[in-house]
Symmetry: C2
Subunit: 357 residues, 2 copies
């Protein structure tokens, strides 16, 4: 890589082919400047602050940029501006549950939305013993400008840790009980979702509507449950004996629904997840009951399973596209100058009605 000569590394390059099929090193600011007969800084301005240039000059520079196929070198820009235009997203450990399905949709939306804001998404994995490890490295090496934290609902330490480091981040998920939290967040109103689902069933004439949810220590689970109970009480109906709290597995859902059917004789089920709802469907099948005709079932997350399973599973759908948009907007506020700390934003889910209700 020895480039001898007066202007080391620069001269002898102008003969290179532009654009298509170019195989030499990519053009730099200096190349464009030379071609357009202006200084480096002027080219830089043409790219970043076009208003500063005289219209005539701007056109000339833009032509040179076009002819050479110039694009600013990311590394150099990052070094100088101390920004990478990357946001880090940690993939949570693989759990073949429904949460993943939602995650997948969210990532898609996020990548799409970020692009428009000039950001790219950097994935990293935190499967090691220390969940914070990945964050620390990326932060200290200034590899990302900010993080997007998706699992605050696990009561995890990320938020606290990031706050202490003064690392910019936006959370998908409420800080729940954490009163010290001052970071921007976006979340989906799970209670509103289950309330909507329950009302939907009430409107269909159901009066004994059961709940199958997660264990009591899950904030999300309790939140979703509250929507169900609110809707019932609103119509003066009792909830006693109609709720069951179990682990998030198909088997648990099946078991819980079997017990409820025997003891409380509900005509409909609202579940905290599609996984649990699948368990209910299994129990119904075993007893020769037809979902949607004999008993109604509603799930949560509108996962692929809900779309594909037999009569179709009615499910609460999180507006992940809107979540992504809001997250990116908060990110822009946070990283802008001056930085604005956005507040929390709670979005309302929708109900996708299918054959099961």
């Amino acid at each position: 890589m020895s480039r001898t000569g007066a202007h080391p590394g620069r001269e002898g390059r102008e003969g290179r082919e532009a654009r298509a099929g170019s195989s030499g090193p990519p053009p730099t600011l200096a190349d464009v400047a030379e071609r357009a007969g202006v200084s480096r800084q002027t080219v830089s301005n043409a790219v970043n602050n076009p208003d500063l240039l005289r219209a005539e000059t701007l056109v000339r520079v833009q032509e040179a940029i076009e002819e050479l196929g110039y694009l600013p070198n990311r590394a150099a820009r990052n070094l100088r501006t101390r920004a990478s235009h990357l946001v880090g997203l940690r993939l949570s450990p693989v759990q073949e549950g429904t949460a993943n399905a939602a995650m997948d949709r969210f990532v898609h939306s996020l990548v799409w939305t970020s692009r428009e804001a000039g950001y790219h998404v950097l994935l990293f994995s935190g499967e090691g013993p220390d969940p914070l490890e990945g964050y620390d490295d990326l932060l200290r090496s200034t590899a990302v400008d900010a993080f997007i934290v998706t699992d605050t609902y696990l009561g995890n330490p990320q938020a606290t840790w990031l706050r202490e480091r003064r690392a910019p981040f936006v959370a998908f998920g409420r800080p729940w009980g954490d009163v010290d939290a001052r970071h921007p967040w976006v979340d989906v109103d799970g209670a509103a979702g289950t309330e909507m689902a329950t009302r939907h069933l009430l409107d269909k004439g159901h009066e004994r509507i059961a709940w199958i949810g997660w264990r009591k220590d899950s904030r999300i689970g309790e939140d979703r449950r509250s929507g169900w109970s609110r809707a019932l009480r609103e119509r003066g109906l009792s909830t006693t004996g109609l709720a069951s709290r179990v682990e998030d597995t198909v088997w648990s859902g099946g078991e819980a629904s079997a017990v409820l059917l025997d003891e409380a004789r509900p005509t409909a089920f609202v579940c905290a997840s599609d996984t649990l709802a699948m368990g209910v469907l299994r129990t119904l099948a075993e007893r020769g009951l037809h979902p949607g005709r004999d008993i109604a079932v509603v799930g949560f997350d509108d996962s692929q399973v809900a779309q594909v399973v037999h009569p179709g599973l009615t499910s609460v759908r999180q507006p992940l596209e809107e979540v992504a948009i809001a997250v990116v907007r908060a990110l822009e506020d946070l990283l802008g100058a001056p930085p604005k700390v956005a507040e929390g934003l709670l979005l309302t889910p929708t109900l996708t009605v299918r054959g099961s209700s």
Copy 2:
């Protein structure tokens, strides 16, 4: 390029707090060097080529690194070495089909494996009109070192285009008919998977085993089909009248299986996807037939649906973890010095047996 003064922009920084709660700018090589009483280059060597240092010096430098919590600045390193240690992965447009589920697992594995090789995964989206747009920008701005292309099986132009640009990339997916292809690739032997599935059914005593696959213009579809027919012919059984080729939807799968049941009376189905298999299950349910007891069904991809649906769906599972490992290995070969162009690698899937067979 004369730098006047001793260390412009550096002095007045040594009073900054180290590590925990540090709010000032992160430490640089020069900071570490000063603290350890060596030159910048020596610190750099301590990080990148520890063998070059005398043991004693190494310890001293490492202590200084530890005390200051130093980590090399990514941007500066990238600029100098002309490498970003990022690999680009384009998320294919959202299609709520089974392919996504596999993609999700693959991304996970890839992120995990890349980390060990010192790479991070940069996601980008190519949903615009031009599928190549994202690639071009990232390449010209030297934002990524290489790409991972996941959808060569669509007969897409990415591979050709990347080759022309001499962009390093590894494909997950065979180049199929493309004889000009000289890039490394990793793929899963779909035919071996369906062959395994068919043999599994044969061993259970089935003799009339039907195929429901994709349309003829799908290379992958035809590949998977060939495994089924090979296994049947191997035992001297005929395939005529037992195959159906349709679109990849639940509805099509249900329709196709209904027709096959009426006309060919198979006792088992092998499907090109879990989606199609779900269609078969639906038809069976409508006719009061029990999967696994009356009729066996095997899907492909071992998606979440296969795990969650009632009796459990037997399915061919792609070894995506191994794919990721092989992809990253090929990547390292490709980007190493000297670059080695790895050859193609075909991995064998496994069969996950569940209640449906």
